[in-house]
């Protein structure tokens, strides 16, 4: 039939087919193994924690859009990622009300005030976590032991602490490998670290599952592999060099790479597309910066873990890195 009105549009008339929503969905899929492991290792606590931050993030995204009379953007799945990531970076027995607050702050302060998806300068989940760290320094550094026998039937008493009340902690509290090293000089076994047989934040303990998710995303070109490679490579080379100089004081490179939030940060947070540079050279510089900062904070800083601040600082300079590493334009 020829008499129909024709649809006109501007060229190009083809698209590759990949959408922003699909990218976000795939990031969520890639996170699921590590989330599953968190629930397996820490039981109901971790499940409630991650659910709480995710729901807070989605709800905040939805309500903020509603209140500013815009179409809700919760359907683009980016709030889900923020919520999952925030939950994964918190101690498993973290009080739920604090976690919920963190989720609200992550979206409201980390993303929405900048103008929503695509405009945030910092990784929203880390903004939420940074606020929580400042507000609740004790709760955020109180770790429960992994694989306690009754983890699927009982909830730690701190989890259901009432808002603004001092949470009570169960007796079983284990130091993370990083704090054990920092404050007691104890170095954990690397294999235990890699497969998550240690205590730590809910979703950060199993480095291999996190890596698996990263490889999945990188293979689908939804993640810039240069960033985790640069971060992990820098941390390894930097700390292995220190270890070589004085093995008594400095831990080995593999301990540094597999402990704490490094893997989660390098694979899923430093790679936040919006807050990382655009150019290939830029992302490498950005990754090296993050890796160096992590080692500096962990070894010489006051905190046992440095992934969060390292990434936030690198986020802040990412536009400048971009500006300095613009691709050479053809014919110039």
């Amino acid at each position: 039939m020829l008499n129909k009105t024709l649809h006109i549009s501007t060229s190009p008339h083809l698209t590759k087919g990949l959408t922003t929503t699909q990218i976000m969905q795939n990031v969520v899929y890639a996170l699921l193994p590590a989330v599953g492991y968190a629930v397996y290792a820490f039981g109901l606590d971790a499940f409630l924690l991650i659910s709480s931050t995710t729901m807070a993030a989605m709800l905040t995204e939805h309500m903020l859009c509603k209140w500013s009379h815009k179409d809700s953007t919760v359907g683009d799945w980016s709030a889900v990622i923020t919520g999952l990531l925030l939950g994964m970076t918190l101690p498993p027995s973290f009080p739920l009300w604090m976690a919920f607050l963190g989720g609200v702050i992550a979206i409201a302060l980390g993303k929405y005030v900048f103008g929503g998806l695509g405009n945030n300068s910092f990784n929203p989940a880390l903004v939420g976590r940074a606020v929580l760290q400042a507000a609740f320094p004790v709760a955020i550094t109180t770790w429960s032991t992994s694989f306690i026998p009754h983890r699927f039937t009982e909830i730690s008493s701190s989890v259901l602490a009432l808002p603004f009340m001092k949470p009570t902690y169960d007796a079983v509290s284990g130091a993370t490998p990083l704090s054990a090293f920092k404050f007691d000089g104890v170095v954990a076994d690397s294999l235990d670290l890699a497969v998550g047989m240690v205590s730590g934040s809910a979703g950060e303990t199993n480095a291999l599952l996190i890596l698996l998710g990263g490889i999945y995303l990188a293979s689908r070109k939804m993640l810039n592999w240069r960033i985790p490679v640069a971060v992990i490579g820098t941390v390894y080379v930097f700390s292995a060099t220190l270890h070589l100089i004085n093995p008594e004081v400095y831990p080995s490179g593999s301990f540094m790479v597999f402990s704490g939030g490094l893997m989660l940060g390098a694979v899923f947070m430093a790679t936040d597309m919006v807050a990382s540079p655009l150019t290939s050279l830029g992302v490498v510089i950005y990754g090296i910066l993050i890796g160096s900062l992590i080692v500096v904070i962990r070894i010489w800083g006051g905190l046992p873990e440095g992934a969060m601040y390292a990434i936030l600082l690198a986020n802040a300079v990412s536009p400048h890195i971009d500006k300095l590493t613009q691709n050479r334009v053809y014919g110039t």
């Binding site: 129909k4 060229s11 922003t20 998806l117 613009q326 691709n327 334009v329």
Partner: protein, 448 residues
């Protein structure tokens, strides 16, 4: 400057090719439409000046309109018939331009009248004049007058003639078929063009998906013709002049410059064939090979279609599947969507691609830029489309042009093609470029 020779250019994209549907189909002569409409502006530059009057009888190949100055070409009658009227005709740009309605004589033959032949031993100026007289423009789609393109500016010289047989647009197979079916015309054309430009050697660049054409041409090159066939990997937009030069010769055309700045002239292979076909007879261009294809077409193929044949007639002849929704003139990457089937094919039409209702997804929601850098890794010129897109939204046009090389963009569409947020980047750049050009013109006016 630091470009290494790597047999292709940097970045680019790989859209689905869809060439198998028509690349095996030989060129077929299309019938004459009852009424042919010829806009006087089928080329870049000034419209042609109409020489005939209403009611006049014309024969196929007769001059209908003459070139109006240097940046213009004449127009010849594609069919024997009667001049019905001279009035405005619709064109692809949406504008009406003066044109000719020609009623074709029933049963008119394919015979074309002979003109004054341009021999191969003519001077470069005579050859360029012959090319202009034949009404030849770039058949790849740009429709830039070929005699202007081949004119070497004072102080420059041409070492290499680069024939563009890349045809990187999905769906299109016209150049492919021309290379397989008109090798002699191409070789004759090369001789003319080398003479006109003073080039010492010629290279024809062909993408690897047309290996058969490359092999065939290689086997047919006359011994005395310094022509070389070079096969390059398949990648869009390799058919762009600058990209092809980099792929084949390993050099970059300076920003804002032309191929002649690196001593190269690029010409489309079908245009070359047309020169070789027309000049020995002194004829004008009356028809061209067009790929009629797309999921909405029943009898897909490569057809030799008289210039000025209305799209409606073409689609009636080839038949369409279901209800058609989108029709593009040219390929789907850089072609223009047609709003009206009364538009006729012109000298620059290399293909007609038709999509019917169910194959088109319209109104994809636009998401914010998530800085995924897909466009940065796609832009063949290594521009930063992400940044340019944000600047365009903020109307920072001068900044785009001064610091981010906006004016180098040739609108290949690679950035929009890969954008997961469906941001119409190319459209932003088109608008931004026209605003920058207008501002520059205004500035010149006030300074003068």
């Amino acid at each position: 400057m630091f470009s290494r020779f790597r047999n292709t250019f940097k970045h680019g994209v790989h859209p689905p090719e869809h060439k198998d549907e028509t690349n095996g189909l030989a060129i077929r002569q299309f019938s004459f439409a009852p009424v042919i409409t010829l806009p006087t502006s089928q080329h870049l530059g000034k419209p042609s000046r109409i020489l005939v009057r209403e009611g006049q009888q014309v024969v196929r190949g007769q001059l209908l309109a003459e070139a109006d100055g240097m940046m213009s070409v004449p127009l010849h009658a594609p069919v024997t018939g009667v001049l019905k009227k001279i009035a405005n005709v619709p064109t692809i740009s949406g504008k009406m331009t003066p044109g000719i309605f020609l009623q074709s004589l029933e049963g008119s033959s394919q015979e074309v009248i002979e003109g004054t032949p341009v021999p191969l031993d003519s001077s470069p100026e005579e050859i360029l004049q012959g090319i202009q007289n034949a009404g030849i423009v770039g058949l790849g789609g740009a429709a830039f007058p070929t005699h202007v393109k081949l004119k070497i500016p004072k102080g420059k010289h041409c070492d290499t003639l680069l024939l563009n047989g890349v045809e990187c647009e999905p769906f299109l197979t016209t150049d492919h078929r021309v290379m397989l079916e008109q090798p002699e015309d191409i070789f004759t054309g090369v001789r003319y063009v080398m003479k006109a430009t003073g080039a010492q050697k010629a290279i024809i660049g062909i993408e690897a998906n047309k290996q058969d054409a490359a092999d065939f041409l290689k086997s047919r090159i006359p011994d005395d013709l310094p022509l070389e066939v070079r096969v390059v990997p398949v990648k869009y937009p390799q058919g762009a002049e600058k990209m092809l030069i980099t792929s084949v010769l390993g050099v970059e055309v300076p920003s804002g410059g032309l191929p002649i700045d690196v001593n190269v002239v690029v010409i489309n292979v079908a245009t070359t064939a047309e020169i070789g076909r027309l000049l020995p007879h002194g004829r004008g261009i009356q028809e061209r090979v067009i790929t009629i294809t797309g999921p909405g077409v029943k009898k897909k193929g490569n057809y030799l279609i008289p210039i000025g044949t209305p799209l409606r007639y073409i689609l009636e002849e080839v038949g369409v599947e279901g209800t058609i929704k989108e029709v593009y003139m040219g390929g789907p990457m850089m072609g223009v969507a047609v709003s009206n089937l009364d538009i006729s094919v012109t000298k620059g039409t290399s293909g007609v691609v038709v999509f019917s209702e169910k194959q088109v997804t319209t109104d994809q929601p636009e998401y914010p830029c998530i800085k995924c850098a897909a466009c940065v890794d796609a832009c063949p010129l290594s521009l930063n489309p992400s940044k340019l897109g944000i600047l365009a939204k903020n109307e920072a046009y001068d900044l785009m042009a001064d610091e981010y090389h906006l004016m180098d963009c040739f609108e290949c569409g690679s950035c929009s093609y890969v954008c997961p947020s469906h941001i119409p980047l190319v459209q932003y750049f088109r608008i931004s470029k026209s605003i920058v050009r207008k501002r520059a013109a205004k500035k010149q006016l006030t300074n003068a």
